[in-house]
Symmetry: C2
Subunit: 219 residues, 2 copies
DNA sequence: GAATTTCTGTTGAATTTTCAACAAACGGAG
DNA sequence: CTCCGTTTGTTGAAAATTCAACAGAAATTC
C-alpha cells in the first residue's frame, strides 16, 4: 500500500489524516487494490452498493444506460477522487449506474460499512472519515447542480457553450482539454453526436472557438 | 420551539436524537423560525451559503434561473426536509440557486457552522448531526441521479413518462398527485409547457393515462 | 508501414421541440 | 354569483434535434 500514499494523501476521504495513521487505517478498513484495463467495468449496475472506490491512477466514468440502451455519462472521476460513495453511504441495495475504466487504472475499494460502523478496534478515525465523506458528498451535489444547469439548456449549442465555458473556468484558461471524445461528450450533454459535431464546426466557422480534437480554445 | 417537535423528529437531520435533547440543541445551534407566504423567496441566489433550512410546514422549490431568464426547477422540498445543506456543508461562498415558498410555510434556519464546528459547550451531538448530514447528502445525490435519468431522455414524452412512472413507484400506486402545476412540471422536466400539455393530451387519447390537473393515473 | 479499426465531420429527411397567440376552464375575491 | 386573473389546452409555423448513412482523418495493430 505504501506506493499509493502520495495519491491517497490527495484523496478527500483522507483529508486531515496523518500519513502514519493512513497505512494502519487501510488495513483496518480492509482496503484492496485492483487493476482494470480500458473499457472494463469496475462496478456494474445492479451490484451491491457496498464499496467506495478511489481512483489511484487513470480515470473512470459513471455511466447510466436506460431501458432502450441509450447511454448517459454522469461524470468523470479522476485520480484521487471517489466514486460509489453516495450509494454506499445511503445504504441502498444496488447501484443504479456502472463505473467504467476510461483508461488503464488502479482502483482502491473499501467496504463502506467499515467506515460507517465503528470497528472492533474502535480506532478514532471514523469521525474524521465521516466528516470527510460529508464534505465530499456536498461537493458532489454541487457538481450535479452544474451538470443539471448544463443539460437544462434547450439546444445543443447552449449546452455545449455552457459546458465549455465551465471547463474554461475550471481550467483557469481559455485553452483547455476535455476528458471526453465526441460520443462521450454527446452522452454527457445528452444530445446527438452528429448534431454535436455539426455545432462545433459551426461555432468554429463563426470564430467563437478553435479546436483540435479534445483541445478547445474559446475566443 | 416546542410546537415544532413533532415535525422535527421526522427531519433526517435529527435522526437518532432524543426528543429531550432536541430542544436544548436547537438553542445551542441558534435555530430560528421564519414564516414565508406563497411565492416569497426564502433564500436568494447569491446569498451567503451559511444556512441549512428545514421545512416545518408547507413546501418550497429549488429554482435555478439562467442568464436569459429561463427557470429550471431542481427539486421540491416538503415538510421535515432540508435544503441548502449541500452549499453550507461544502462551505462555498454563495448559493447558486433560489429557494421559493411554494405555499405559505414555516422555515427553520440554522447556521451550518454551528453544526460543523464544535461549539463552546462541546455538546456531544455534533457527531450525530454530521453523520445525519452525510446520510442526507447521500440521499440527495441519489435524487439527483434520478432527475438526470429523467432529463437525459430526448423527447418530452419520454421525460414525462419516466417522471410519472417514478412518481407512481414512490407513491406505491398507479394513482398519485404531483407537486407541480404544468409550467412547473415543464421547468422540472426542462421542456416547453405547451408541448408538455399537448403530450399529456396525446397520452390520454392513447389510453395510457388519465388525469385531472395534478392528479394522474397510469393505465 | 500497411491494414484495420475507431473516431469525427457532413448531409438530408423525418421527427420533435419551441414559440407565439389564443380560447377554454378553473378558482379565488368581493 | 359574478368578475377577473391564472392555469391549461390547442394550433400552426419556424427552428432544432435525431437518425441513418457515408467519407475522410486519426489512431492502433500486426
Amino acid at each position: 500500500m505504501k506506493k499509493y500514499l502520495e495519491i491517497l494523501r490527495k484523496c478527500p476521504l483522507f483529508d486531515q489524516i496523518e500519513e502514519e495513521d493512513l497505512l494502519r487505517m487501510l488495513g483496518c478498513l480492509g482496503a484492496r487494490v485492483e487493476h482494470f484495463d480500458k473499457k472494463y467495468t469496475i462496478l456494474a449496475e445492479g451490484n451491491p452498493a457496498k464499496y467506495i472506490g478511489i481512483v489511484l491512477s487513470g480515470s473512470a466514468q459513471i455511466h447510466q444506460v436506460d431501458y432502450y440502451g441509450n447511454r448517459s455519462i454522469l461524470s468523470e472521476v479522476g485520480a484521487a477522487q471517489l466514486f460509489g460513495e453516495a450509494f454506499a453511504c445511503a445504504e441502498i441495495q444496488a447501484i443504479p449506474v456502472s463505473v467504467i475504466a476510461n483508461e488503464p487504472c488502479e482502483i482502491m475499494l473499501i467496504d463502506c460499512s467499515h467506515i460507517l460502523h465503528t470497528c472492533s478496534n474502535n480506532c478514532g478515525f471514523h469521525q474524521q472519515l465521516i466528516f470527510n465523506l460529508m464534505k465530499d458528498l456536498a461537493t458532489k451535489t454541487i457538481l450535479f447542480h452544474r451538470k443539471i444547469e448544463i443539460v437544462a439548456k434547450r439546444t445543443t449549442r447552449d449546452k455545449l457553450m455552457a459546458y465549455l465555458m465551465l471547463q474554461a473556468k475550471v481550467a483557469g484558461s481559455n485553452t483547455f482539454e476535455i476528458p471526453f471524445d465526441r460520443q462521450e461528450l454527446a452522452d454527457y450533454l445528452e444530445v446527438d453526436r452528429s448534431g454535436l459535431s455539426a455545432e462545433i464546426s459551426k461555432l468554429r466557422k463563426e470564430g467563437i472557438l478553435e479546436n483540435r480534437r479534445n483541445l478547445f480554445k474559446l475566443l
